[in-house]
Amino acid sequence: MLGFLAKRLPSVVLMLLVTAVIAFFLPRLGGGDPAQVIAGPDATLEQVQAVREQMGLDRPMIVQFGDWLGNVMTGDLGTSLISNRPVAQLIGARLSSTLELAIAASLLMIVLGIGLGILAGSARKGPGRAMIDSSLSVLLATPPHVTGLILILVLGISWQLLPVSGEVSVLDDPLTGLTYLIMPAFALALPQAAMIARLIAARMAQVRQEEFVDLAIAKGVPRRRIVISHILRNSLGTAVIATGIRIGEILAGAVVIEAIFARQGLGMFAVTSISSRDYEVVQIIVLFAVVIAVVVHFISEILLAALDPRIRLDA
């Protein structure tokens, strides 16, 4: 395990450096100016220039980049250009909201994905199979924001079963927190679960053709055991890797879902920071996203090795 991590470290550091360069320069290529945002749309050139100087945005770009990178390496994530608060504090205030949503959606995605995958991958024929396949296609094709709006309309406005806006932390009040989480988590999880289900079903169909399955049947191994120990276990590797990627998709989808359900998470924060040209915040969120993607990818590889004895992490 340590050897595996040590081997990957240089490429991870290089990737983070490249990300830092992109995160710093890309927002600045998009036009607009945080000094203008702070000075306001009615500001004169003199007022905007005064704000720019006050914020240090008049320094050469490369100097600003060097300062920022140096600060990040020493653990100083910088100060928001818009609110003048430490970026670490601002992200900390929003992190729990997004984590709650991402964890709830990921759990739903895994449970629904594997459940539907086994259902779809079982050897049934006829209308039952067609119904499962078409249901998966509909779930796969419906984007989270559409699902979210339908859920709001049905469960929130028509039946008034669940709150349509806002959030309560599950740590503060588990029951109320869950009522706020159900709709956004479902909206986020359904298309990803359908994708995992599809992969598992396809892989199960593939494994079912393998010789070792024929051998197990010939030996008289019970059908249930064949499905679980032989077919499913050999099909889950694909799902594990896919799940890692899907968690990234869930985090990306959280941006829209947080907006629809008026949750104050990191996704919403990223969007508002981009529109207000709060470079200091955008840079750290981009870096943060890449770090999360790397960690999730590592975990996926470790899990895959645990599932498949032929794979060696240190190889």
Binding site: G32, A39, P41, V48, Q54, I82, I260, F269
Partner: protein
């Protein structure tokens, strides 16, 4: 010294409760809500008012007009005066009386002597001077800076008296400064930059702020006007307009700034009261008068006649708003019906003028700000211009990039903007609006324009002011460098349990008398 036409007012010992008892005072006629929405019962004490709005509060821009501050600024801070929502005239808050000299170039304000900041420190004239000095600091981005820059001096001429002198007439524009420049605490002013210390003299004390998410304010028991009814105010920032509208279904008591389309979903809903407030926005179409062929006045006028403003109101604003051609209140002295409706929809006249200018079939490249309803307005404008034989090509620009161009005075040949600051004096707006001020993106600043502006700003008394405004308006409309297409009021929604909301002329919310039933 003599009193101005605006008059002298003394409101000693005004309490906000007096307002609800129908007494004269700060809010007597600031209330804009229709009769059906007014409090009919005795106000109840306690409770937390929950507000949803799309823009975050901006403590670091407390001296500037900012959408996010409209709900909180005048609750944590007090201004010297506020502009009445119905008459546009100033009413006293921290000021008790004011006097202007015969020539209008010297102005004395007297202020209350019983006011303390939330820190416990007593407020006096030196705090007013400090505030006005901060208006002059460019980084504080106040739209009133050009006005204060005009003044020769402002100084404390007593513990509770301030004297302003200028080469130009000070009133009535001074009241726009006194409305926007809320009195800040010099000891904690630096704390406004990151919102770590937000100290004013208002009825609510700042409690906490999660930037971009929420803010909380708590009752000031020692408020000079009497403690407010509410225990606290909580503001939630919800940037998605539909999610914000949905918040009124139980999450909040007041939604500030519904989109015109979202208001429609509440029609007939007994649990939600939708109402229009004062203030709001102008949606102008500007033209660069130096860019051929738009240097031809007939072509610019043709564009004015070609646009169907009524259709914009109906289709984009769901019937809310006003089709007025001027930049100020339609009932301002000197704003006649002929001026207010100068460019009525007349495609035949537009075609005639286009032919006169020899501009049939020309391209009309337009930069459109990607803000709220402006792209939807552009769709109608594009259609109207095609009908009269022009070829409009629009580019939707992100707000941040568009604002940069606006500040630089470079927005291309034709552009569609949005401006706030509704409710201030016409004499202020002509130098405050980016579309009208020197260096505007229409590149319109001929000597005659400057002369007429100066005459308006020097006018003393209503009659002179009306005459000067009429002359300026006629000139601006004839030159057609900027067409006001629509004026839209802000649309708010509230729960029936919320009463006693007070808005001033600019649309700032005053919650000292608000209560939850």
């Amino acid at each position: 010294m003599k009193e101005t036409g605006i008059g002298k007012a003394v409101f000693a010992g005004l309490h906000r409760r007096d307002v609800l008892r129908g007494g004269a005072g700060l809010a007597g006629s600031l209330m804009l809500l229709p009769q059906a929405l007014r409090a009919q019962d005795a106000p109840k004490q306690g409770g937390t008012l929950r507000i949803a709005q799309s823009a975050d509060i901006q403590p670091n821009n407390i001296l500037a007009g900012r959408e996010g501050n409209n709900s909180f600024r005048h609750n944590v801070f007090d201004s010297l005066t506020v502009l009445d929502s119905e008459t546009g005239q100033p009413r006293p808050v921290l000021a008790t009386e004011w006097e202007s000299s015969e020539d209008g170039k010297s102005f004395v304000i007297r202020i209350r002597d019983d006011v303390t900041f939330h820190s416990g420190r007593a407020m006096d004239a030196s705090d007013v001077i400090f505030t006005l000095e901060q208006v002059l600091v460019p980084e504080n981005a106040s739209q009133m800076r050009p006005l204060v820059q005009e003044w020769t001096s402002f100084e404390a001429t007593g513990d509770y008296e301030i004297t302003i002198t200028s080469e130009k007439a000070i009133a009535p524009r001074v009241f726009d400064v006194l409305q926007l420049a809320v009195i800040v605490d010099r000891e904690s002013f630096e704390g406004l930059k990151d919102g770590s210390q937000v100290i004013g003299t208002g009825p609510f004390k700042f409690a906490n702020w999660v930037p971009g998410a929420s803010a909380r304010f708590e009752k000031n028991e020692d408020y000079w006007g009497g403690a407010p009814n509410l225990d606290a105010i909580e503001i939630s920032v919800i940037s998605d307009p539909t999610a914000m509208a949905n918040a009124i279904r139980g999450r909040v008591d007041l939604v500030v700034g519904l989109t015109p389309r979202d208001q429609v979903m509440f029609r007939g809903d007994p649990n939600v009261e939708v109402f229009e407030g004062p203030g709001g926005q102008f949606f102008p179409l500007g033209i660069d008068v130096t860019a051929a062929p738009f240097d031809n006045k007939a072509l610019r006028q043709a564009i004015g006649y070609a646009i169907d403003r009524e259709r914009i109101i109906e289709q984009v604003f769901s019937g809310s708003g006003e089709t007025v051609d001027v930049w100020w209140r339609s009932n301002a002295p000197g704003s006649t019906e002929a001026i207010n409706r100068h460019y009525s929809y007349d495609p035949d006249k537009a075609r005639e003028l286009i032919a006169e200018a020899g501009a049939e079939g020309i391209d009309v490249p337009m930069n459109v700000i990607a803000y709220g309803p402006v792209p939807a307005i552009y769709e109608i404008v594009q259609n109207n211009l095609r009908e009269v034989g022009l070829n409009p090509t629009g580019q939707i620009m992100e707000t941040a990039a568009f604002d940069q161009g606006q500040t630089a005075g470079e927005l291309g040949p034709v552009f569609m903007q949005v401006h706030g600051l509704q409710g201030f004096s016409a004499a202020t707006l002509v130098d405050a609006f980016p579309a009208l001020r020197p260096g505007n993106p229409s590149k319109f600043d001929p000597p005659r324009y400057r002369e007429l502006k100066d005459a308006l700003q020097a006018a003393q008394g209503e009659e002179d002011f009306a005459a000067a405004l009429t002359e300026l308006a006629e000139f601006m409309l004839d030159e057609a460098f900027s067409h006001v297409l629509v004026k839209a009021p802000p649309i708010h929604a509230k729960q029936p349990a919320l009463s006693g909301l007070i808005y001033d002329n600019v649309g700032y919310l005053h919650l000292g008398s608000a209560w939850l039933g």
